[in-house]
Symmetry: C2
Subunit: 355 residues, 2 copies
Amino acid sequence: MTNSYAIAVLPGDGIGPEVVGCALEVLDAAEERFGFSTDRSTFAAGANHYLETGELFDAVEAQLRDKQAILFGSMGDPRVTPGILERGFILEMRQRFQQAANVRPVRLYPGVPTPIAELTPERCEMVIVRENTEGAYVGRGSTVHAGTPNAVAMQESLNTHAGIERVVDFAFRLALGRRKKLTLCHKTNILVAAGQLWQQVVAEVGARYPEVEVDYVHVDAMCFHLPLTPERFDVVVTDNLFGDIITDLGAVIQGGLGVATSANLNLDGSAPSMFEAIHGSAPDIAGKGWANPAGAILSLALMLGHLGEGEAARAVEAATVEVLGSLPSLAGADMGASTSELGSRIAAIVREGRA
Amino acid sequence: MTNSYAIAVLPGDGIGPEVVGCALEVLDAAEERFGFSTDRSTFAAGANHYLETGELFDAVEAQLRDKQAILFGSMGDPRVTPGILERGFILEMRQRFQQAANVRPVRLYPGVPTPIAELTPERCEMVIVRENTEGAYVGRGSTVHAGTPNAVAMQESLNTHAGIERVVDFAFRLALGRRKKLTLCHKTNILVAAGQLWQQVVAEVGARYPEVEVDYVHVDAMCFHLPLTPERFDVVVTDNLFGDIITDLGAVIQGGLGVATSANLNLDGSAPSMFEAIHGSAPDIAGKGWANPAGAILSLALMLGHLGEGEAARAVEAATVEVLGSLPSLAGADMGASTSELGSRIAAIVREGRA
Ligand SMILES: CC(C)[C@H](C(=O)O)[C@@H](O)C(=O)O
Ligand SMILES: CC(C)[C@H](C(=O)O)[C@@H](O)C(=O)O
């Protein structure tokens, strides 16, 4: 009897469908080689669908909920007011499905050019774990005297012990299986209330993981430590807003948004986890074959690992890394091959067991 | 009759006194050459002073208030709980003296090594203007059920039309005298209340400066635009917390914290402005002669410009840039000269009119 997994596929907008198409071709190859299968349901979601129907996450929530994982492309289109899709779909999914941990590996793969001088793959191998459901992302704010010179806007960051604890515990467990170091990134000297709660939870949870060394770095200092001394980091745990910022910096270091990937993990099994490249929909290059499918294919690898297909996950990652390392440029017209050619190349390596 | 200026000098902790000492030597040279004078009052402030007396900003506020400018070293010491000096002195000064704009030039000087591959000085010449008195730095937050598993911490960001307007207007005026481009950096798709107020004020104020082109970049996207396409930016305006983060990234790009400098400007003449390098007190290297005084000396240049001694400001900057460009390394044991030697070298160039 072969394992079978029910997955939802949301290609989304712009380059989303192209790169997700590549990921599915690689998934075919992995199924063939490793003898499992998937039952894939594709959902129309994103800007076009919203413009036609007005539908956002609400409309698919029930159908997505019984899937074992969600493979997500990208969303966004100049015709939709910024914020609508982000809040109405992506954040809504993260919160309703309690995808508590946004996990972003930051690895410089061999042969991949980094914009940071003298950085080598051995020095850059970390995972950033971002709290994914609260903080400044709760969307609470209010304005008095709007539209007048006396306007005051308040924006709130809500941080709960429970919300922090689950992601911090996850980060400690992750560190335990790695180099056993956890770094909290925050701005505790200024954001005192939130900062104290984060520090306290890290201390409490850390007491359960005495083997793991705990470190702390302010978010502003992260801007020089990440590019200049990445070897300092094994697992970094941080809040939603700081995580949004520093993971993009992490992506730059590892070669760019085209290479970076993420898992939005539900940690209690109450709803599916979601896997996405971290690049956006890049409408300017959609349809040109210039998008690098690596981010999406690496998100497939994370999904396979999550589903328990560890061997397949490793093969997909290795094949992607091999092809990435051979490219003259990581995106655009001079990538040396089109999006779909790269997808097929990676799929072939997986299928033929060359990785 | 020569111009004379009453300035306050706060050397502070760690490497602060060393680098401020260099700045004062350069100031002597500038006075000699350009024929102005300063009346300098030095104040003990910082960790040692706090540990001895318990005194923070309160204790010196009245004496500082009647000065024309403040030259500030750095504060911080492992013996003082993080946050005490930051909030009790630095933030207190910024708020009480209404130093509304934190101005940080990000320039890659010729000959200065940057960690960003292929970055050239022509491509990196911007000023980041950070709102310096409100946002998440108002220090308002509260916690319920502290110390229990039900704890919830709320942290507020307060943004006023008046506070945003003054710094945005300053940024537009700055852009008008430069390449006429202003970029707002925020996270408007998530922080809706604060983001809308910022966008609205930029639109309102921008209507008064029709020659200035307005652009917008999300703070997370800033992490790749700053290092990879810095030529996109002329003047960047942003809120207090985002500014704290992206200016450190700016410092990395221009060669490191040792080179970066900042002005904390009071824009209405109600209190003195303050000028500081952006590096910290670096207690680990204090007294070793390994600190680069460039940040402090460049902050002196900003101060001289602010006082109206434009020629002296330009000479001090040029001399600093010349010496910076000749160093084998920007800090530490292999800088090629000690802190004080570098100060003397820069002072000599200023005195002899070689810059
Ligand atoms: C699209 C946007 C809502 C999102 C975020 O801010 O979290 C993105 O930047 C990310 O990091 O996944
Ligand atoms: C020392 C600290 C309070 C300060 C800040 O957060 O503003 C520093 O990081 C800065 O950027 O000037």
